[in-house]
């Protein structure tokens, strides 16, 4: 039986500038690459470094999947992103981590309530923030597509 796959056709000329912003974030490595500081207050001190290293290693694997999905000749030439069902979870996690990084590094002037509702007046942002916001929204759309693929019933119930 053929494994299920997702094939997205994206306007490469519109998405590539967003990836130019996202790829360096996805290529960061080590504990410093974590998207946010984990709450380890109740974790025994002896295990905290190991815990962070495990998270960073996990995230590195997710980011590698993200880079592999977009850093292809097929995407650059035709805007096609193709991946299997087994890649969905790492790609979802990578997109979540990248959104967190964008918020912390590029969109810290944007109110959390604005990020949460998505009702952003791009005209009030500078050009760097505009690009970051477009990348932020792109990643959300990317996640929604994957979630719909994994769980069509849940997506339908969401309206």
């Amino acid at each position: 039986m053929k494994a299920k796959r997702i094939e997205l056709r994206l306007p490469a000329e519109a998405v590539q500038p967003l990836l130019d912003l996202l790829m360096p974030l996805a290529r960061e490595a080590g504990a410093g690459a974590l998207a946010s500081a984990p709450d380890l207050d109740s974790i025994e001190e002896d295990f905290r470094d190991q815990w962070r290293e495990d998270l960073a290693e996990h995230l590195g694997g997710d980011f590698a999947q993200f880079v592999a999905a977009f850093d292809t000749a097929e995407f650059r030439e035709a805007g096609v992103v193709d991946f299997g069902a087994e890649d969905c979870e790492p790609l979802l996690r990578a997109a979540a981590a990248l959104r967190l990084k964008l918020r912390d590094r590029k969109l810290n002037a944007v109110a959390d309530t604005t990020l949460e509702t998505g009702e952003v007046d791009l005209g009030r942002l500078n050009s760097d923030e505009q690009q970051a916001m477009l990348a932020y929204v792109f990643l959300a759309t990317f996640q929604e597509i994957i979630i719909r693929f994994l769980d069509p019933g849940a997506a339908a119930a969401e309206g």
Binding site: H58, A96, A97, E144
Partner: protein
């Protein structure tokens, strides 16, 4: 509660055998964040904690509206493993002793 087994957490697996800890229930708490999509949080709860759709949505809404939700309670090592897995999914999850006076 029927739950999926969390993936083993290396840090926990390497824990040294010490004095047995009291059987204090520990809580896995998920906090609100403005970044993760509601649909994403629901999906993570279903996949990681084995919730059905209704339960996953209930906890997601609790996180969204009250700022936090206790999504699991029980022995420490399993709670740690859930926290670790939820953190790999980029949720703001933490371990909490159940005697800290919080009810949800």
């Amino acid at each position: 509660m029927s739950v999926a087994s969390p993936k083993a957490k290396p840090a926990t697996r390497r824990r040294k055998k010490t004095v047995p800890q009291p059987v204090t229930p520990w809580r896995v708490v998920v906090y609100n964040d403005p970044v993760n999509l509601m649909t994403y949080v629901v999906m993570v709860f279903k996949r990681v904690l084995g919730f059905d759709d209704a339960k996953a949505r209930k906890h997601m809404l609790e996180v969204h509206e009250r700022g936090r939700s206790v999504v699991w309670a029980g022995e420490r090592e399993k709670a740690e493993a859930y926290v670790h897995t939820l953190q790999t999914w980029q949720l703001s999850a933490a371990l909490e002793k159940s005697d800290e006076g919080k009810t949800n």
